[in-house]
């Protein structure tokens, strides 16, 4: 009896556990009421936003975007009809309002409590040394805050910067006590508080990190600006550094892509190229939700082949996107038009987008968000990255290859067909799939290579790997003509193509 009871309770726990496991990560984190930070990407990192009625520390050096983030936080509250207060201890209200206006923030409804020193402070009349600032300033400052908060009863408070209070405390113990009681006072007024600090090596702000319910860091590194969360009481969060961009309309946050958090039901149907011989090679085409590498030397037709699949998809009304890292958009379009791939009309009809990526302009996180928008909002069915080397060289930041891996896995989970264009350096000679260690990424590898026959340069195509179906083992000739891509019959009378030492097989048919 006892045993069966124990077994039942263990079974019950297992069942509950498996039920919890069935919930997606996001579902498990939206239970506590959240307040949006006003920045979509940051809300995503925080799994829905800040937990309301708590105090959060926003830290970072000068120019990292602390105040900008605060402006987003307050104006988001105003848009929702909430009462918001900006307590400034450094920059005066007039300057803050002017800067906010320049960024397009409407601060009319935001209440300001300006505790910054005015110009008169620096004249002899205001300078004092008889008592410490803690003795002189703390009481009036505290009183002003109490009066204002008591009067307005704000739902959101942004305080810039809490570190100023350090100078109003006689010792670290007093500072800690004052900050804790101040934050408690604000939270008891039902406010969600975001306060900044300017922690330095000389004056660290570890104490503030301990006192807050969450810590958001803003960094300014040579490879770009990033944001990270290291503490969030009562919730999980997306860890790691995420790219941010400060624009002339505020802050954009690009959460690092976690492929496992994205999923879409997909049918493993194939996407045909529309060239019967090509589809024979692939036993139907490329499957949705797979990663295909088109590899070969320069000019062999990798990009054109990718666009052929997109042309066929466009015929079914499906949308595709090409990210071109090396070739100019216009060149690519002209080239495609010349081989009967009507890219211009595809673009006009919205079944194709050709995006030229400027070198060193984006971080992998920014690029990933761009791709996500195409997939999630525009339902792109095929995404082509042209090329892998271009992606690695053009995007700023560390671990670019790892991030390409994450992006491809995401696209796979979303059921998007991924085409990665890979250029190999050698024109002829020994066959290499890739000069980069990326073959592990691919579900399918299609290779193209040059072939010299009777003094003429010809091109061949073959399939090296296909995870989800069988494929034709023979090589075929491929030609880019003004009528389109032509793929020939299997080259059964040649051998040694992959080694670069070609010879004819006797008793073959007439194919050359």
């Amino acid at each position: 009896m006892t045993n069966s009871k124990t077994a039942l309770s263990v079974e019950g726990r297992k069942s509950a556990q498996s039920q919890r496991n069935l919930l997606t990560t996001e579902e498990t984190h939206v239970r506590a009421p959240r307040v949006s930070t006003g920045i979509e990407g940051l809300d995503e990192i925080l799994y829905g936003g800040l937990i309301e009625k708590r105090a959060y520390l926003l830290r970072g050096g000068p120019g990292c975007g602390k105040t900008t983030l605060g402006l987003h936080f307050l104006t988001e509250g105003i848009e929702k009809g909430e009462r918001c207060v900006f307590i400034t201890m450094g920059e005066p209200e007039t300057e803050l309002r002017a800067n906010a206006e320049a960024l397009g923030f409407d601060m009319d409804q935001v209440h300001f409590l300006d505790l910054s020193p005015n110009a008169a402070f620096f004249t002899e009349m205001q300078t004092y040394d008889i008592f410490s600032p803690a003795e002189v300033e703390r009481e009036p400052v505290t009183q002003q805050i109490l009066d204002q908060i008591g009067k307005i009863k704000p739902q959101r408070v942004f305080l810039d910067a809490m570190t100023q209070f350090r100078y109003l405390a006689s010792d670290p113990f007093q500072f800690r006590k004052q900050v804790l009681s101040f934050l408690r006072f604000l939270v008891e007024q039902d406010s969600t508080v975001l306060f900044t600090s300017e922690g330095t090596i000389a004056v660290p702000d570890d104490d503030l990190q301990f006192m807050s319910d969450g810590v958001i860091h803003l960094h300014f590194k040579p490879e770009g600006r990033t944001i990270s969360v290291t503490k969030f009481r009562g919730s999980d969060f997306r860890s790691g550094d995420h790219a941010i961009r400060l624009t002339d309309t505020g802050m954009l946050v690009f959460p690092r892509l976690l492929p496992e958090q994205h999923n879409r039901k997909v049918t493993r149907e194939t996407i045909a190229s529309g060239v019967p011989e090509m589809d024979e090679l692939l036993h139907g085409g490329l499957e949705r939700g797979t990663i295909t590498i088109f590899t070969g030397p320069t000019g062999v037709g990798k990009t054109t082949l990718g666009l052929q699949f997109m042309k066929e998809a466009a015929g079914r009304g499906e949308r595709s996107v090409v990210y071109t890292f090396e070739e100019m958009q216009e060149t690519l379009m002209q080239r495609c038009e010349s081989v009967n791939i009507p890219v211009r009309s595809m673009v006009e009809r919205g079944t194709l987008s050709v995006v030229q990526i400027e070198p060193l302009h984006f971080t992998p996180d920014e690029f990933a968000l761009m791709v996500r928008t195409e997939v999630e909002k525009n339902q792109a069915a095929i995404v082509m990255i042209d090329s892998i080397a271009g992606y690695s060289v053009s995007l700023r930041g560390d671990n670019v290859s790892t991030q390409l891996h994450a992006l491809c896995k995401y696209l796979q989970n979303m059921g998007t067909a991924v085409i990665l264009v890979n250029e190999v350096q050698s024109i002829a000679g020994e066959f290499h799939v890739s000069d980069l260690a990326i073959s592990y990424l691919a579900d399918n590898i299609v290779f193209l290579r040059y072939l010299e026959l009777k003094g003429e340069i010809r091109k061949v195509i073959g399939v090296l790997k296909k995870r989800l179906s069988n494929f034709e083992r023979t090589l075929r000739e491929i030609e880019m003509t003004r009528y389109g891509i032509k793929v020939g019959r299997p080259l059964t009378n040649l051998q040694g193509i992959l080694t670069g030492r070609i010879s004819f097989i006797k008793d073959s048919n007439k194919e050359e």
Binding site: E124, Q126, Y128, D129, I130, F131, S132, E135, V136
Partner: protein
Amino acid sequence: MGTSPQTLLIVNRLPRNLQLLAEFLAKEGYATLTASNYEEFDQALKQPQKISGSLIDIAGFDSAIWTRCEHLRAVKIPFLIFSPNQSAAVQQASLSHGAKGVMFKPLVVKELIGVVQSILEG
């Protein structure tokens, strides 16, 4: 019939210091006379009967301040010296010119009030 508050002469170069001292002392029930230069100091010393004690911040004054200190001692007005830094020489000079004590800035309000009470009680 209430007793009139005791008056303290506070001497300081900085107007804000004078203002702050006057405010804190007023909260404790003291009246104040202020002097930010020798002229005002000398003017105040003409009516010593009105002054119960004096608080002198020597920052910004030269050695002529000690002559005024000697004068205060002569008319039996107890006084404290405030100094911007801890210095044995200043402490020695202050005591030798009749100061009841020396305090170093920044002052702690509670301590100041305690010391003022004790020198006035004598």
